[in-house]
Structures are given as structure tokens and as C-alpha cells.
Symmetry: D2
Subunit: 340 residues, 4 copies
Amino acid sequence: MIYFRSDYSLGAHPKVMEALMKTNMEHSDGYALDEHCDHAREMVKELIGVDDCEVHMMVGGTPCNITTVSAALRAYEAVVAPRTGHIYVHETGALEAGGHRVITEEGDNGKLTPQNIDDAWLEYEDEHTVIPKMAYISNPTENGSIYSKAELKALSEKCKEKNMYLYMDGARLGCALTCEDNDLTLHDIATMTDAFYIGGTKNGALFGEVLVIRNPEINDHFRWMIKQKCGMLAKGRLLGVQFEALLEGGKNSIYFEMAAHANAMAKKLKEGIAAKGYGFDGVSQTNQIFPVLPAEKVKELEKDFFFYEWVPEKDGKIVIRLVTSWGTTEEDVDAFLKAL
Amino acid sequence: MIYFRSDYSLGAHPKVMEALMKTNMEHSDGYALDEHCDHAREMVKELIGVDDCEVHMMVGGTPCNITTVSAALRAYEAVVAPRTGHIYVHETGALEAGGHRVITEEGDNGKLTPQNIDDAWLEYEDEHTVIPKMAYISNPTENGSIYSKAELKALSEKCKEKNMYLYMDGARLGCALTCEDNDLTLHDIATMTDAFYIGGTKNGALFGEVLVIRNPEINDHFRWMIKQKCGMLAKGRLLGVQFEALLEGGKNSIYFEMAAHANAMAKKLKEGIAAKGYGFDGVSQTNQIFPVLPAEKVKELEKDFFFYEWVPEKDGKIVIRLVTSWGTTEEDVDAFLKAL
Amino acid sequence: MIYFRSDYSLGAHPKVMEALMKTNMEHSDGYALDEHCDHAREMVKELIGVDDCEVHMMVGGTPCNITTVSAALRAYEAVVAPRTGHIYVHETGALEAGGHRVITEEGDNGKLTPQNIDDAWLEYEDEHTVIPKMAYISNPTENGSIYSKAELKALSEKCKEKNMYLYMDGARLGCALTCEDNDLTLHDIATMTDAFYIGGTKNGALFGEVLVIRNPEINDHFRWMIKQKCGMLAKGRLLGVQFEALLEGGKNSIYFEMAAHANAMAKKLKEGIAAKGYGFDGVSQTNQIFPVLPAEKVKELEKDFFFYEWVPEKDGKIVIRLVTSWGTTEEDVDAFLKAL
Amino acid sequence: MIYFRSDYSLGAHPKVMEALMKTNMEHSDGYALDEHCDHAREMVKELIGVDDCEVHMMVGGTPCNITTVSAALRAYEAVVAPRTGHIYVHETGALEAGGHRVITEEGDNGKLTPQNIDDAWLEYEDEHTVIPKMAYISNPTENGSIYSKAELKALSEKCKEKNMYLYMDGARLGCALTCEDNDLTLHDIATMTDAFYIGGTKNGALFGEVLVIRNPEINDHFRWMIKQKCGMLAKGRLLGVQFEALLEGGKNSIYFEMAAHANAMAKKLKEGIAAKGYGFDGVSQTNQIFPVLPAEKVKELEKDFFFYEWVPEKDGKIVIRLVTSWGTTEEDVDAFLKAL
């Protein structure tokens, strides 16, 4: 069985495992208050070229999203997101369980637009209505698309105009940044958003994400929020050790190398599928693609390949999702294309 | 100044005030555990022609909605509602503050359709997604439209098919039931929904709504939920006394007389406005209408009449909301039409 | 049946009813944004001798407590209260349902002491623990005791030292202020607390409390919180009209007259009971007293008098609660003492 | 620096690391739906000798506690716990943030007694009060004490009598079970509680706990609750792989070997400290001990040893906490005793 199911079907990059082995018998203080975490935090600050921020070592993406929103918003404030956003679609209502509304807007190929924010504000009146206070975006989006520098700038300015926070979910941020269409830098993101995270789980870590908070309002007592939201890892140093390994070498680190590889494999897949005459649902620029295939072909492929059926059968066709990762090989891709 | 701002700008119907005066010096137990409340509950059961239900005396509409949803749903379950629904638009996110998502669908002139429910289920997958568990509808809707018997039956069947509760917000239920297009009875509503309420605040009470719960799952420990949601009134008997007065005479009670009057005044207004060549936003069948007027005309009318601008100016026109009530007089309507 | 069950077994003082009747057919805007509410707010500010505060018209005591705490605290902050406090004992966990802990301390005859606050802080460590942020007190307490000026001052200073808010639940504040042992003024309370409320429900209103917020941090977007917590009354003017009537005449108003009467009736009861050789549970200074009576005597009294058994039978004795109010007559008291 | 700070200052037992390395390049499905987790679940069922239960792979102890309570309780239900319980003391109010009260009782050396449960029920009245629905205990307790079979049986019966769930926090369960005073088996625990967990983080795993739910009411849609509470690990198989290694060999596995070693090191420490004439705070039977030492001695020890000051200095003495683990060596203990 060949996996195109997700970018977290393997363990960690060998260099991450090596680092964990090497440090295994070191004693350290808990809760990410150790030297490895401190070092990783410094590496992150250097990588993003920003020093006046706080860097939190988090276990996963949902904890990043939920803890940040909970820390940032008062009870009557809400998040604006595309209806396709992870925080709305795939977190079992964790945000609402924490007391806040996600105001969904249609978005554009998975991306939130300044117009979407204006639309959310059209529903605002007074004390009988929630106040849109944060814009949630993913980069790349759940559709595989990415934000251009101009798009992010426009969103950032719209948020400032509306006194809103801008938060970026970077579960697959490596793939956005190494995508050939990309013109954003980590420094741009760090200066245009109030908070964002650099995802590890979906790019070669066992688990773990690095959450960067620029806005001190959001950061106030943030560690209390992490603990209360059940996200404080006792052996927090595991996060520090992994990100030391992932980010070693900065822009030349395995973090970006892995992401670029995932993108390359997706591109090869996409081109091969298109060459066979099949189309796609939406336009992806990164490591998730959504071919539209005949239902019977899908059933046949499922014998040897593991992937999601993304949109249920309609008119004899099924949209599937193929995800590549650092662990996807040329052979995997060739096998799929051959079987198609 | 003449008020078309809301149907709660006056005090209570004189008969309600009379009943409050008459019983003022009676001692009774608190928290709606008194004889007036017991009597009112029996009157309601008789009026709806259903005995196996629980009737709760509530202070207001938002408490009805929020307490019912909170009692009915588990943490990962959600409500499906039209994007125009009161629970989404005008309750400051109280439902999400209680931990649940409102899944908004576009609706049809303010009404939820069986297709909307199917659409909500399209977003459902597994433990990563919330479970649509309740459909929220208002009758009449926030647009003034009403559900026909066939529409309610279709919704009720769709909810049963999907193992969902059907809940009706009846803030203005009197106006729906006395509207000339209506073919629904209270008995129909009581047998087709799991819970609904008969609104008093917007139809001649000082405050108060009667919540009817048919489904025993929702009713389990409901009084604990009322208290926890801050809705337990110490002098609960005020609710019983008011509804005794409102519902005295059943179908011939002032409750229905007042609603019919409100509808009649709205109809007169609507016809007069149309006769002057103005159009409307949406199609209302009850006591709220939404004329589209030139902005300068609106500004002029605001000198003598008090109403909401409903949709901000666009292309020189403003949608306003006019609401009539038991206290609206023919003279009020004539004055408005004359000024138009 | 003679009622000593609560101070909310009657309707409202006749002057309150008169005011409601007189204003019944006035049209006004909703949600306490009307002229009667504005006037009542001004009357309150004058009465307490403080102008830089916000006055909110609330429906009941639990809404006052819960909305204030929810508005004041961040997610990881907690309230310190005596274990006997209403917020802990009789609100069905509404505060925790809103996400906050009540740290209970033993208290002294129902009162919170500065030492209690120090004790709560002993449990504090770091991000693994909640932060005590508000002290909750009732005056009079649920035991009927009152705070002296020196006690309130000491608490107020301790709260400032610990960067905590001081909040006073004044459900029966009239009885505290008119109690013969009292040396506190409304002005003292307004200047020593961050927020407090002047209760109407238990002192002659149909319902309603006046919440005074001194600290602007707590007041930020407070009306959003009222709505979200289901406490926004559509016909809010009912609150204004009632408090205009209750507070007319300021210190000589019926508000204080009624409370003084309730205290006087309780004192007469207490002295009569003591004269018959019975003791009391705790020391009450106001309108709730807790005689300890033989179980069989209690059962006998229950035939003609309605009151709570407060502490279950033990060693053949039961603690009962007797509550007097503005509506308690000398005859009621005499009848009880005679039957004892 | 020698660590007696916690039992999670090291990485994982070498056999755990070996298993992670060996399986690192296997592809698998996410979210603990893989074969390693399935296998680990079967191993757990065999170990506890109970088949009709559900086993969930959890990331940490706080997620176990909070998710279980949230899944088990309705909004108005509460947990009874000793005031020393982890759920009250060290989880930043996560339980209350989820909407539920912890009713604290004094306990007996960290243990909850049947009398405590009766005391909690004394505060219960009706819809104005929360309903005690779950008893929370830790074994060993936060004081290091353990429950005897008779104690657990009595608690279990009391819970059944009161229609309450019994939940055991087993963060250090290995140390309880391998303690020389212990007469409980895993089978006893599984049959006397409604849910409990077997802790990995504090006994040789990188992270991870195995939550066993006997009561199907608690288990209903439990995976939705895990996700909503941010506890669903993408690479869930890491939990399965670790517990396969920890529990290999069942009662002779490294899981119990490590715990027994931790206990032995604690005993040696305790005896050595006592031999030098120092006393202890409370009576510990497991791997956490609480010596009472002169303040100046503590300051001196802190130069070479890392541990918590547990109770602030009083009368010149400080209570410290020393924790041993699988990684504590005889040399570590000897060094401490020598320095004392």
C-alpha cells in the first residue's frame, strides 16, 4: 500500500530521531523551560528576523489555533474565516466549545479576502451582535493555494483598519514558503500578522509546532492558557530538540528541504495526472492536490493506494485528495501515475 | 413621535396589568412553583391539545433559545439555522458562548429548508467534525415570513431522518398563527417539533415566554439548566399571572386578538406603501415589513417616526423595518402613510 | 398559611405597581435605553455620591453576579468566596459553567476575611494554577451578618494589595444599610468596591437590581456581556420605572423604609424566640434568622407557617430559616411566636 | 546537578526509543487508528483482565482528566475531589474552564473518603445546586499515599449508592501498584472504577497515557471529545508504539520494573533522611517524598540538587519534594544523603 493519505503518515526525519536519541538521557526541567527549547526559540527569532515576539513550543496545530484564539478574544468577540478553514472544518467545534463564534465567509479558493472581512462587519450592529476581532487564515490553505505578498499585505491592512488581529495557521507553512509561486518570506509573515505558527507535525517532526506571537495583547499569560487548554507537555524539551534539528542551518535546513521535496512530488503527480486528461477541483500550488476521477477508477486505485475521497461521488466522478510529504518517493509517484 | 420600532415599546395589555395588580399582595412560593404558574401550564397544555409535555415559564426569548439548546446538545453537537436566524444574528454569540456551533445555511426568505439540513450534513465526516443535532427555526421568521404546514412537516421528517431535534422560536408566534396565509395550528406545531415557545414579550406581556418541551431528552433536569443560565425568576409567579390573562379564553383570548391586530395594521401599512409605488425587501406575511425607500425620504420620516434602518444606504435607497403591535393604532398607520 | 419563606413571596410595593400602571402606555426604546432608566441611573449616582461609574439595570441577582464575574475575569482567573456565598451555594454552578473557579474559604460567620484571601494565594504557584482575581462578598451575608466599615476597608486594602477586584452582592443591601449595627454608607461601598449591586427583587420590586461598576476594566463592553448571558430585558424600562419609585426621596425612600421594616420584624421574631429559650445557628443582624428548634415543633409549625428547613435534623433538632420582608406584619410575627 | 525535581526529567526508556526508531519509516493512518495502537489496546485489555471496555491513547494526564470529566458530566454536574487533587491544584482550572465545578473536600492524606462524598451531598438541595456526579481520585495521590483494596471498594460502593462515577487518575499508577504496601491489582481497579488511566509520561514514555473507560455512558462519542479538547495526536501511532514497548511482557514488563525501581530509590532516600533525624510532611508510600528540612540546609542542597520547595519556609523550615524515577541511580541517592 502506497500512502498519499496525509503528510503525517511516517515518523520523523532521521535527523530528528537522531537528536532525540542523542539527548534522551539528559535531565532537564519540564514544560518547555529547558535549554533546548530556549535554543530553538532563539533559532526561530533569528530565522524570522524579528526579536520582539514570544515563541511558544506547542504540541499540535489545533492547540495552536484554539489557545491563540482563546487568549486573544474576549467573550463577545469572534473569528472571521473562510468556510473551508481548518478551524471551522476539522476541529470538532473546539473554538465554539471555547466560547467563540467562527464567522464563515465564502473565501476565494480557500483564501480569505479583505472583502470577506467587510462582509463580516456588515452583520455587526451593537451589543446584540458579536464583534469580529480576528481573521484566521491558513497558508497554504486547505485547498493547497497560497497567499501572495500583496494579498497578505491587503489583509493585514484591512485588519488594522478594523482593529482586528490577523492569525496565520502554518500547519504546512514550509510548503507555502518553498512553493515556486511564493513571494512571501517568514519575515514578511512575522511583520504582517499578530501571530502565526510554523508547523512541524506535517513536515518531518514526530509532533510539534512553533507558535510565534507578535502582539503582546495576545501573549498576556499565554502559558496559563496553554496549560488550561491541556496543551502543556511535561517533557517539553522534546519540542525544543526536534526544532533544533529541523531548523539547523536556517534557510538551508531540512525543514525547507523536506517541504520543497513534498511540493516537487505533488507537482510531478499533478502534471502526470493532467497529462492523462484528468482535471482538478480548485487550484493547488502546494503538496495537496484534488484530482477529479471516474468513480470506478478511484475504487481500483484504492486497492494499492491509500488516500481520502474528498467530495462524495457525483455524476460518476469523485474528487480525491493526494498529499505528498518529505517521505514521498519518485517511485510512489510513478506507481500512481502508472496505475491511473 | 410615533413608534414602529418594535413590538415591545409599550408596557403590557391592560388585562395583564389588571391581573398583576389583583394578585400583587398574594404570597406564593418562588421560581414558578406557584399556583398561577401551574394553572397557566395547564391552560397551555389544553390550548395545544397535548398533555405529555413540560411547560416552562421563561423570562425572555434568548433564555428560551439558549437554555433549550444547552440542555439538548452534547459538547460536539451543533445547531443548523438560517443565517438570518435570531440565534445567529441578535444574541451576541450566546449560543457559542455556551459551547455550540451554529451552522448557518442560506435559507429561503428566512426559512430553513430540508435541503439546508442536507447541506449541513455534507460537511460532516467523523470525529473531526461537529454533528448537526438540532434545527432552529423561527415562526414567523426574522423576515416576517411563515412556515406552511407542508413546510413544517417536511422539516420535521427531515429532522427525524437525520436524528435531529426540531426547535421553533416563537417570539412572535401569535402573528404567525393569526396571519391570513397560515394553515398551522398550535397542535401541529406541538406534534411536529421537539420544543417551541409561545412568545409573550412581543405580544402584550411585560415579559415572559412559555416554553413547551415535547422531547423528554431535552427536558431532563431542565430547571437546573434554567438556573445555571441565569434565567430562574425569583417571583416566577409573575409569569403565570401574565399568561393566565393572556390566554384566558383560549383561541378567543387577547393573545390571538392582539396578534391579529398587529398583522392587520402591518397589512394596512404595506398596502399603503405599495400604493405609493414603493417596493419591499423580501416578502413578509406578518407584523414586520421592510419597505425600500429613498434615503432622503427616510431621513424626513425619522423626524416623526421611530423605526430601524435595516440595511444601510445603497444607491440612494435604505431598507427600513416597520413593526406593528397590539398597541399600533389606525391613526399611527394613517399618519405614516400621509407623511410618506 | 403565613410566609417566612423568603423576601420575594409578594408582588411589589404598591408605589412600584402604581408607577408601572402609570407608565404602561408610554412608548419607549428597549433594552434599558429609555428615559426612565436614564433617570434611575442618575438617581443612583446621586444616592451613592459617586459620578464616575456605570449603572446597569439588571433583571436578577444571579445575572448580576455571573455577568460581572464573566466580564471581569480572564479565563485563568478565579473568584475567592466564603463557602457559604450565594455564588457558590445557590447558583447551580453558573460561574463555573462560565469557565471560572470559585475558590472557597471557610469565612467567618458568612464573611470573607483578609486572611481568607491570603490563604487562597497560598495555593497559587505559576502557570499551573489559577490566579485569584476577585473577592466575592455578600452584604448582608447569607447568614444574615453584615460587614462593618473597618472590615470592608481591610478587605478592600487586601484586594488592592493583591491586585484583585472586590465585588459585593447586595441582594439584600437595604437590610444591611438599615440594620442598627451598620456603620457603612452607600458612598463607602461605592468607593471601597470595584462593583456592587443594590437589590430590588428581595426588597419590594417585582424584579430587578441596580449594578454599579466603578472599575472601568470591568465595565468594558459590559452590555455585550449582559446580552450574551441572556440578561438583556427587551422592555428594560420596567427596571427604570421600578427603581424610580423605589428610590424616590433618596435616603428617605421606600427602599430603605421597607428594609428597615423587615429588620424590625426579624428582630421582634428573634427576641420572641430567644425569650422562649431557643437558640440560633450563627449570629444574624438582618432579616434572615436561623432558630434551632426541636424537630417535632418544626413539623407542627409547618402546618400554619411556610419556611425552609435549613439544616437537616440532627440530634432531634432542626435549623430553620425565617425571612421577613416589607410585607411581613406584626400579626404574622405574633402568630408565629404564639404558635411556638 | 542531580535531579529529584520530577519523574519526567529524562527522555524515554531505551526500549521505548528503540521501538520508535524501528517503526519510524512505517506509514500508517493517523489519530491512533493504526495497528500499533490496536495492538497496544489489546495488550492493555489483557493486562487488566477486562474486555468490555474502551482504551484510548492520550497525550497527557491533564487531557485524560479533562476529556473524561467533560464527556461524563452534564452541565450542572460536578466532580468531588480532595483539595490536594491534581485536577484542582495543578491544571489551571481546566475543569472549570470546561464548565464544571470541583467540589473540594479535605481528604485524608491526599485520599478521598466515603465520608467526603457524603459531605459533598450535604450541600445538595435542588435545581439551585450542582449535582455531585463523579469522584476524582489519584492513585498514588499527590501526597504519595495509595489506596488499599478495602478503601477503593468502599469508595466504589459509595459512588454506586450515590449514582456517581468513580474516576482514577493514574499518572503514577505503576508506583502505586509496585509499592510494597499495595494490595490492589489492575483488575481490581478496572472493575471498581468507571474509568482510569495508566500513566506513561511519568514512567518511562516520552509522553502518553492509556485511558481505560469501563462505563459506556462516559465513552459515548469519546473521540469527538478528544478532538474538541485539542488532544487528538496526528501521529497517534507514537502512543501505540511506546505502550507496546512499555507493556511487553505484561506484569514483568519494563513498565512495572521502572516503577518498582523508582519506589526503591525513594525508600532508600526516605530511610537515609530519617536516619539523619529529619521528619516528613505526610506519609508517602511511593516515589514522591516530602522531607522537612532547615531552610539553610535546603539552600545549600540546591547548589547541587534540583527539586521543588513544596511549602514555603515557616519557623525556619521548608518542606521540599523529592521525586525519584526509573532514571534515578543509587549514586544519585547516595550523593544526596551524603550532602544532607
